[in-house]
């Protein structure tokens, strides 16, 4: 008899190699070009590489007042929205996960109502309401419209986290006399914490990059980094300013990439999008 056939016979994975090359070219290459521009002092067409590398445009970009103003605006907007969202959503998520109350199911699913509509159309409809409330061109108007965009994931992801906590451990702690608060602090939070942390981080990052509501409601008074980036793209002849701002803009995403990737790669994230 011949030797048993190996199931995992090593064979060149040509499909994988092909996909890896194409995706690297399409996804990574454009971003490398931007990074290259950010660290370029001189790059004249048609040279393949910059004539002179350097940090000259970092100093120039970072000395522009509009850049600093947009950084401050973006950070304070994203922080306000994330903190308010956490304060109102996390207790609600706990209630949805643990308490019995009337209309629980229908209220829980009410948060996806907005998902049935194209987002910008919905923003225009909200802006129509804001027009009568004098919230156009107002910082808090932008906070409000961005807050609404965070509700769904700030409730649904933590609900899953609270439901994933081992109830038997909580009950055991209660049996030996721990107070409800103590149980929440020592048993529930450590188990649900990482997922909730990821939800908070994703909320911050998504709010930081939210452009459409900020533009529709906030312009021209509220100037966030993405909005400044749009004006750099449309009106700024110096290419490097946009490149440097792109690199700065990417920092929150980098943290999301570091800490939240596991949540996103897991099946439950895709399921949240209806997969």
């Amino acid at each position: 008899m011949a030797e048993p056939v190996l199931i995992d016979r090593p064979r060149a994975d040509w499909t994988g190699i092909g996909l890896a090359i194409v995706l690297t070219l399409v996804i990574i290459f454009p971003l490398v070009v931007v990074a290259l521009w950010a660290f370029t002092n001189v790059w004249r067409y048609p040279s393949i590489l910059p004539q002179e590398f350097g940090l000259r445009y970092w100093t120039q970009t970072l000395s522009r007042p509009d850049v600093w103003q947009s950084i401050t605006t973006s950070v304070s907007l994203a922080c306000s929205v994330t903190v308010i969202s956490a304060i109102i959503c996390l207790p609600a998520a706990f209630a949805f996960a643990r308490l019995q109350f009337p209309f629980r199911s229908i209220l829980f699913f009410s948060f996806i109502a907005g998902q049935a509509f194209p987002k910008f159309g919905l923003l225009v409809a909200i802006a129509g309401i804001f027009l009568g409330l004098n919230l156009i061109g107002n910082f808090w108007g932008v906070v409000l419209i961005q807050l609404v965009g965070t509700l769904l994931y700030m409730i649904w992801i933590p609900v899953a986290a609270f439901q994933g906590v081992d109830r038997r451990m909580e009950e055991a702690a209660r049996d030996v006399g721990a107070s409800p608060l103590r149980v929440f602090w020592s048993i529930t939070l450590p188990q649900a914490g990482p997922t909730i942390g990821a939800a908070v981080l994703l909320t911050f990052v998504n709010t930081f990059y939210e452009t459409e509501g900020a533009w529709l409601i906030g312009a021209p008074q509220v100037h966030t980094m993405p909005i400044l980036m749009i004006s750099f793209i449309n009106n700024q002849p110096v290419i490097q300013y946009g490149a440097v701002l792109s690199v700065i803009l990417w920092i929150p995403s980098f943290f999301a990439l570091l800490f939240a990737r596991r949540v996103i790669s897991g099946g439950s994230f895709a399921r949240g999008f209806g997969a």
Binding site: D13, T15, L19, A20, L23, V26, I27, I28, F29, P30, L31, V33, V34, P46, S47, I48, I88, A92, A95, L99, Q100, F101, F109, S110, F111, I112, A113, A116, F117, P118, K119, F120, G121, V124, A125, I126, G128, L144, I145, V148, L151, R174, P180, Y209, T211, E212, P226, I230, I233, I239, A243, L249, W250, S253, S265, G267, A270, F273, G274, A275
Partner: protein
């Protein structure tokens, strides 16, 4: 004694829990009612009941009649429909092979491909727009490389309808792949092995075993893409032509530059109308998923 008091606490929590629960969820629920459901209803109502010349609100279709008789509005709508349909098609053609590969491949190369496919999730659209211009724009990186190879420059897609199309496809790759991959998880290894055993080839396997089970996921991915692309704003605004424009920039310009809220809201309601079937289907599948957990 200890047992009795514990059960007392539990009992007290249960009775008070109904009210406490409602109070805890009140603020987010009110926000959704006020900022999502009310604006949608209000948008429909205010565009259909407008104050006439005599100052009395009456049923009217005049903003809708204007939209559907105005050549420019219609051109914008056609451009949006064209972009949405082509994007959905391209996404499917690009993402299905990636998802199929990731479903069956293992190892470091597959992990690398998956990482790349998900990566656009971590690139803000506006940075993507900038990268697009630096690579495919006039005298961009592609022109530089072609020039170095003594080839003619490309006709740049920047500021043409193909600009937003390419950008939107790029932007939607990660979630489309994730949704399709989750759907492929439902195709069991056993059914594929069984089909292979009776001699089914790769194409037959795809057509007869995998695609029928993947139909729902494909529709979900398509719905998600349609909802995201139909009213996309940033990429069409930055990469697209000035005229005709997609519905997103069109609504924004009507609302903020022309100060014409009634017509902007009419455009929004029209975009709701064109997406409603996809929207309802999409929401229904999210609800089903949550229930089946």
């Amino acid at each position: 004694m200890a047992l009795a008091s514990a059960s007392d606490i539990v009992g007290a929590r249960k009775q008070g829990g109904r009210l406490v629960g409602l109070l805890l969820v009140a603020i987010p629920v009110i926000l959704v009612a006020w900022m999502v459901i009310f604006p949608i209803l209000s948008a429909v109502v205010t565009t259909l009941w407008q104050t006439g010349s005599n100052g009395v609100p009456a049923f009217t279709l005049k903003t809708y009649q204007f939209f559907f008789s105005d050549g420019y509005s219609l051109a914008n709508l056609y451009l949006t429909l064209w972009t949405t349909a082509l994007c959905a098609l391209f996404l499917l053609v690009i993402c299905l092979p990636i998802a199929l590969y990731l479903r069956f491949a293992k190892g470091r190369l597959a992990a690398y491909v998956q990482g790349l496919a998900i990566f656009p999730l971590f690139v803000p659209s506006i940075v993507l727009a900038y990268a697009f211009i630096r690579v495919l724009g006039p005298n961009g990186m592609v022109d530089i490389l072609l020039n170095a190879a003594h080839l003619p420059k490309i006709r740049t897609p920047y500021l043409t309808p193909w600009g937003p199309l390419i950008g939107l496809v790029w932007d939607h790759i990660p979630l489309t792949v994730l949704i399709l991959l989750a759907g492929l998880g439902a195709v069991s290894d056993a059914s594929i092995e069984a089909a292979r055993d009776v001699g089914a080839g790769r194409l037959r396997l795809l057509w007869n075993i995998i695609l029928p089970r993947l139909g729902n996921s494909i529709l979900v991915a398509a719905s998600f893409a349609v909802l995201g692309i139909f009213s996309a704003f940033t990429l069409p605004y930055v990469l697209g032509p000035a005229a005709p424009e997609m519905m997103g920039p069109f609504m924004q310009r009507t609302f903020r530059d022309l100060y014409d809220a009634p017509n902007a809201i009419t455009q929004a309601v029209i975009s709701f109308f064109f997406c409603i079937i996809f929207g309802l289907f999409y929401v229904r599948s999210i609800v089903n998923n949550q229930r089946n957990r």
